[in-house]
């Protein structure tokens, strides 16, 4: 009996959690105070940014604050360890990245973005489904925020706690 009661509580709690999660918009939970890289920043400026802050990924924007790409730690590590890159990494595209001297040349130019009006659950579903750790939030092409897994976990944890 105790187990059944426990199950019912859990189901009720999960239902209300799912409902509430679907009512929460990304714009209310995203990080708005962003560290960005300009598409014309030099490699040295980018390395300084990575040295100063400790985020995994930085959005790259143009002068109109339009999101044009992302640069992550993997790309930087690849550039720094270029002499150790295995032969399988010697592709044309990697060679272009290795010899790049601005953010525009080394960034990943096709970031998956999400609207600030999407639900928190949508972001969580996509992160799990496509193994993506963070989304740039874009409104009319302009970068307005970023949301990553720890942000989501924090909010979900708060929701469960309030149940």
């Amino acid at each position: 009996m105790v187990d059944n009661d426990g199950d019912e509580d859990r189901i009720r709690s999960e239902r209300s959690f799912a409902e509430r999660c679907s009512e929460m918009f990304i714009k209310n939970f995203m990080t708005k105070d962003l560290v960005t890289i300009s598409e014309n920043d030099s490699i040295d400026q980018i390395l300084e940014t990575f040295d100063k802050y400790h985020f995994h990924t930085y959005p790259v924007v143009n002068e109109d604050n339009i999101l044009v790409g992302t640069i992550d730690q993997d790309t930087i590590l690849k550039i720094l360890l270029v002499h150790r890159a295995p032969r399988s990494e010697h592709t044309h595209l990697n060679a272009v990245v290795f010899q790049g001297d601005t953010a525009k040349a080394i960034m990943v130019p096709h970031p998956v973005s999400i609207s600030p009006d999407e639900h928190l659950c949508t972001a969580a579903d996509m992160m799990l489904k496509h193994k993506i750790d963070r989304f740039c939030i874009v409104e009319d092409g302009k970068l307005v925020g970023i949301i990553c897994k720890p942000d989501l976990i924090k909010e979900v944890y708060k929701l469960r706690g309030s149940d």
Binding site: H83, H90, A95
Partner: protein, 390 residues
């Protein structure tokens, strides 16, 4: 079910031999070719239809991933006019050398043109290690090689379309037929561009919301096969369509999610592409290799010289000095995947015979061995000359 054993052994040996070559400092493609040659001698004496089909899929996926992962439309837009000049010059010279061999040995017009086309592309990946080791990737000739390589692939694919259509006419096409070929190509590319502009992004915006497993991956493969099929409908070859389809997906964010890319690469390089390279090894006529005569030697020497001279002349035209032009010429010498796709199509369509096929495979292998060494020597030569002058 003998074919299961064949596929198992091909994949096993291709990866093992590939690893040996990688560790020795050469691309794994040589090991994959060797695995096919070994199996061709010891076990697989008759090419089965299933193996042939899998090899064709390998060629399709090799070029699809080249377009999907390696080419960015942004890079094409930004590529300089200088790069197109130097590319066109080196292709014209390489093509002429190839076609001249055919004429000299009294091969048919079509076969001679095909050898010229097979001489045209470059596989820049083979010399990237040397450029990195010698700190020459960002140099003037280094960046020109990278830009030129994009044009090189595209012009190679374009020439292939022409020669494949010529083969279907079984004669040198008339002016009207050439016009029809061009119109078909333009129509195909226009349809693919329209799909990219109006359909692909919207399609993937919906696909990523689907609940079924691996929806994005499946649709990337669907587009690869659709592009290949559509190209055939337009009288072009499937691999041309696959390459263009890949390019059209190269800037669709949801289609380029990292873990989707790794699955597409896994399917291509884990299964189909090794089978394709091994199949070329199996198809090699050992008898024609054993009788390496003047023809094979000329194919190897002129294919390498064509690129060297063409690259040198093109670079001089755009203002490089003799040293940088020489470095560029050696840098564009290697051939690998695209050339092997070209000759397998040529053989399958009956355009080239065993001797031409085997000679070009030999040329590919030689170019992979010698290009990095010659490039390194050219860079050292320039460095020595510079230090003597200072």
């Amino acid at each position: 079910m003998e074919v299961l054993l064949h596929i198992l052994l091909i994949l096993l040996l291709a990866k093992l031999f590939g690893e040996i070559f990688e560790r020795a400092g050469f691309p794994s493609i040589l090991g994959e070719l060797l695995s096919g040659m070994v199996l061709g001698i010891l076990l697989i004496h008759q090419e089965s239809e299933i193996l042939k089909f899998l090899a064709e899929m390998g060629a399709i996926f090799l070029l699809f991933t080249a377009g999907y992962k390696e080419v960015h439309l942004r890079d094409l837009k930004e590529s300089s006019a200088k790069a197109s000049i130097v590319t066109v010059v080196q292709i014209i010279v390489a093509f002429s050398f190839g076609a001249a061999i055919g004429v000299y040995f009294h091969l048919s017009v079509l076969e001679s043109i095909f050898i010229g086309v097979a001489f045209s592309p470059t596989s820049i990946g083979v010399v990237v290690r040397t450029l990195i080791d010698m700190d020459y990737l960002s140099s003037k000739p280094g960046s020109m090689m990278l830009t030129s390589a994009i044009f090189d692939d595209i012009i190679g694919i374009f020439l292939l379309s022409i020669v494949v259509t010529m083969a279907t006419y079984e004669q040198f096409p008339s002016g009207l037929q050439v016009l029809i070929i061009l119109l078909k190509m333009i129509a195909f590319v226009a349809i693919m561009f329209s799909l990219r502009k109006w359909a692909f992004s919207r399609l993937f915006d919906q696909i990523h919301k689907m609940h079924v497993k691996e929806s994005i991956f499946a649709f990337v493969i669907v587009i690869a096969l659709f592009s290949a099929y559509l190209a055939e409908v337009f009288g072009l070859h499937a691999v041309i369509g696959a390459f263009i389809g890949g390019v059209m997906l190269s800037d669709v964010p949801h289609a380029k999610i990292e873990h989707v890319q790794s699955k597409v690469t896994g399917l291509a390089y884990g299964i189909f592409v090794p089978i394709f390279f091994a199949f070329i090894g199996i198809s090699l006529n050992i008898a024609s290799l054993q009788t390496i005569g003047l023809f094979s030697v000329l194919v190897v020497v002129l294919a390498l010289l064509g690129k060297l001279i063409g690259g040198f002349l093109g670079s001089r035209l755009i203002g490089f000095d003799n040293y940088d032009s020489l470095i560029f010429g050696f840098g564009v010498m290697p051939r690998a995947g695209v050339e092997l796709v070209l000759i397998s199509i040529g053989k399958e369509m009956g355009i080239i015979g065993d001797e031409v096929f085997s000679a070009i495979v030999l040329m590919v292998a030689v170019s992979i061995f010698v290009s990095p060494v010659l490039l390194k020597k050219a860079i050292q030569f320039k460095n020595r000359a510079n230090s003597n002058n200072t």
